[in-house]
């Protein structure tokens, strides 16, 4: 049995084990003793860094596709992309459940603060435009690499990355401190609870997206994408647009109505 395990492992790596243990230690720390959390985080970051160096796309890509397979009705979709779409479906369900939970508590509450008075609509709008622009940058970089334009790809990815950072800075650096100074803190009741959890989870997704875009930039400079080999750009782009679309729901729900 051990041999079997080893052959499986030698084909892949110990990365899955390391990541899983890192996450487990992280959660252990979250529940019991915060310093332990840091240890878990270090393991995760180290593992992610290692994967960057080895080329994560190869590491986690699927087994090779052969033409002798029945793939009806999805002949033209790659395995990775199908997997990603299924993953996005699960993400939609998570955010969907949370948004429904938000609607539920809001409908059940007798009074709810007026959105435009609590939240800074100007900052929210700015962030919306920033995210939309970053999506545009992702699409442009995909177009660039399809024509083999590596420089265009680098510019596109770089601006998407910068805009993502700008989004987080505005959100965490300006909006949240302002709200907290107004007494709208995470413990101050359901309006604040729903706001912080939903936008917080979205911010985490943006951060994950930034890591992925960062990886693309890293790849663009080291290994290089070509006009025929750029599937990672497209897939990360899909995820990035998804995170963008989630914000399109959150923005009106929290800032406007």
């Amino acid at each position: 049995m051990n041999d079997d395990e080893h052959t499986e492992k030698s084909k892949s790596s110990y990365m899955p084990l390391i990541i899983a243990s890192g996450v487990a230690i992280f959660l252990l720390g979250l529940a019991i003793y915060i310093p332990v959390l840091v240890a878990g985080l270090i393991i995760i970051v180290a593992a992610v860094y290692k994967m960057f160096k080895d080329g994560a796309a190869e590491k986690f890509s699927g087994t090779k596709e052969t033409p002798e397979e029945e793939t009806y009705p999805l002949e033209s979709v790659t395995n990775e992309k199908l997997g990603l779409w299924i993953f996005l479906a699960s993400e939609i369900l998570i955010f969907g459940s949370l948004i429904i939970a938000y609607a539920y508590v809001r409908v059940n509450s007798g009074s709810w603060p007026i959105a435009t008075q609590t939240h800074n609509v100007f900052l929210g709008m700015t962030n919306t435009i920033i995210l939309l622009t970053s999506s545009l940058a992702m699409i442009l970089s995909l177009y660039a690499i399809r024509q083999g334009n590596v420089k265009g790809l680098k510019i596109g990815l770089g601006s998407a990355f910068a805009l993502g950072i700008a989004f987080l800075v505005i959100k965490l650096g300006f909006e949240w401190p302002e709200l907290i100074s107004k007494g709208f803190t995470i413990t101050s009741g359901l309006p604040a609870s729903t706001y912080y959890v939903l936008t917080g989870l979205h911010a985490v997704h943006v951060a994950v997206g930034l890591v992925a875009v960062g990886y693309l930039i890293f790849r663009a400079y080291s290994l290089g994408f070509t006009s025929s080999k750029h599937i990672a750009v497209e897939n990360v782009g899909l995820y990035w647009h998804f995170v963008d679309i989630v914000w399109m729901f959150l923005f009106p729900l929290f800032y406007l109505i």
Binding site: M1, D3, D4, H6, T7, E8, K9, K11, S12, S13, M15, P16, L17, I19, A20, S21, V23, A24, L27, L28, L30, A31, I32, F60, S61, G62, T63, E65, E68, E69, E70, Y72, L74, N79, L82, G83, I86, F87, A89, S90, E91, L93, I94, S97, L98, A101, Y104, V105, N108, S109, G110, I186, T187, G189, L190, S193, T194, Y196, V197, L201
Partner: protein, 495 residues
């Protein structure tokens, strides 16, 4: 992939031991924890992964693929599953103990005010990690089944077990994210002090909705692979094709779709309004129609055929018996009036143990026996298997049948007085438990012993016509050779 199944069974051993609540030994708080862990571990960490483990080996063989599409994701899923289980079991050792809320983790008992121990937080996080693991593996399975079928394995020729796994995984993909969402809210409640489940505007009903939206499909996540296994075994041992195969698949799909629309029947007594009550009463009865269709299809497969009563077949017949009894007792709950009377009693406990422990576990053991020669190239001891089957079936019924008579005994109580008149039935159940538990252990022992023995089995001991045994995917020679190679290399590594 084989070690996944072994670890699953080992986990099950460990967990079966953990999970024998002894009503006289434990104080109420400990009892509550044992109930909670038993429920969580059995449903989520034993039954679900055991099916996934079998599927991990069998599905690629049935569709003529070498492996799942994303082997590394598969490993990630396995390790996250393992660690989430370890975290959950580890909560027992924390000061203040583990969660004591029952497996449904109902609010507001799950909030920090009523269960302040860190073990409860950790249990919730472990559950979240498990949800991640399931999501990863459902992505992998769906992609594999859609994209990795060998030439000739068209949708209409796809084996029933693979169909059932496809449905299961689609359902898991649908059911676990809402659970993850609920757990996220619960975690922020407990750690950062948000007020989702302690407020009166959201509170316990919000949790109920999120939980049961996951919870009911989860029942089918456990039961559908079981039905798939039963269908495969029936076909092989009666040497008949499945009765009305296309309708059977359609019924599987109908059950899958309807199962996300019945969650409210767990909440009939929470004061939901009458229209909602009626709607969900109807959907609950509606789901029993395709489900009975599945059972009838299975029975008609056997009708007037020559059945070979090997161990897998016996287990499947037992599973059919329990699914019928568990199903009938379940349909009664569809009527809100009866649900008002029965809920929270041992009647319910009997019902879901017949479905879960009976159908799912028996069918999964049948699956293990049935595919054991395929997986390990070893033949288990047939007469030993039959004896353990008889013992475990007797033990099972001695354990759970009395529950149907304990109509007035509330569930989740740690002890009861002698005056209640429940003592003799409870004693009977405990005796049953002490027959059933060891019988399961013996079953696993049988499998492990056969694995260690060097007696190899013939390639197709059941003389089955199914693709994973014959290796013939529509007669394409190439597909079958690649498959044989992959098996040989796997076995070469082991011996």
């Amino acid at each position: 992939m084989f070690f996944l199944i072994v670890a699953g069974s080992l986990g099950m051993l460990m967990r079966t031991q953990l999970a024998t609540p002894n009503e006289n030994f434990l104080n109420p708080f400990t009892y509550d924890q044992v109930v909670t862990l038993h429920g969580l571990l059995m449903i989520l960490w034993v039954l679900t992964p055991l099916a996934a483990g079998l599927a991990n080996y069998i599905v690629p063989l049935q569709i003529g693929a070498k492996d799942l599409t994303f082997p590394r994701l598969n490993a990630t899923s396995y390790w996250t599953y393992l660690f989430s289980g370890l975290l959950l079991v580890g909560t027992v050792f924390l000061p203040g103990g583990s969660a004591n809320t029952g497996w449904t983790l109902y609010a507001p008992l799950n909030t920090i005010q009523f269960s302040p121990q860190p073990g409860a937080t950790l249990a919730i996080l472990a559950l979240a990690l498990f949800a991640v693991s399931v999501t990863i593996s459902s992505i992998n399975f769906i992609t594999t089944i859609v994209k990795k079928r060998a030439k000739g394995v068209t949708w209409t020729r796809l084996p029933i077990f693979t169909w059932s796994i496809l449905m299961t995984m689609a359902l898991a993909l649908f059911a676990f994210p809402p659970l993850a969402a609920g757990l996220t809210l619960l975690t922020t409640d407990r750690i950062f002090g948000t007020v989702f489940f302690s407020s009166t505007q959201g509170g316990s009903i919000l949790w109920d909705e999120l939980f049961w939206f996951f919870g009911h499909p989860e029942v089918y996540i456990v039961v559908l692979p079981a039905l798939g296994i039963i269908a495969e075994v029936f076909m092989t041992f009666s040497k008949r094709p499945l009765f009305a195969r296309k309708i059977f698949i359609a019924e599987l799909a109908a059950v899958t779709i309807l199962s996300v629309g019945v969650w409210m029947h767990h909440m009939f007594t929470t004061g939901v309004n009458f229209d909602v009550l009626q709607a969900f009463s109807i959907t609950t009865m509606a789901i029993s129609i395709p489900f009975e269709g599945l059972v009838v299809g299975l029975v008609l497969t056997l009708y007037k055929s020559r059945i070979k009563l090997s161990a897998p077949m016996l287990y499947c017949l037992a599973a059919m018996f329990t699914v019928t009894l568990g199903g009938v007792t379940g349909v009664l709950q569809a009527f809100p009036v009866l649900d008002y009377a029965f809920r929270g009693t041992y009647w319910i406990v009997g019902h879901f143990h017949y479905v879960m422990a009976g159908t799912a576990l028996f069918a999964l053991i049948a699956g293990l026996y049935y595919w054991w020669p395929k997986i390990t190239k070893r033949k288990y001891n047939e007469s030993f298997a039959k004896i353990t089957f008889v013992i475990s079936f007797i033990g099972f019924n001695a354990l759970y049948f009395p529950y149907f008579f304990l109509l007035d005994m509330p569930r989740r109580i740690a002890t009861y007085s002698i005056l209640s008149g429940w003592a003799s039935l409870n004693f009977d159940a405990t005796v049953g438990a002490f027959i059933f538990g060891p019988a399961i252990l013996l079953t696993l022992l049988n499998l492990i012993l056969s694995y260690r023995k060097n007696e190899s089995s013939e390639a197709n001991p059941w003389d089955s016509k199914e693709m994973e045994w014959t290796g013939d995917y529509s007669g394409t020679a190439e597909a079958s050779t690649t498959k044989d190679n992959s098996i040989q290399s796997k076995n070469g590594d082991k011996s």
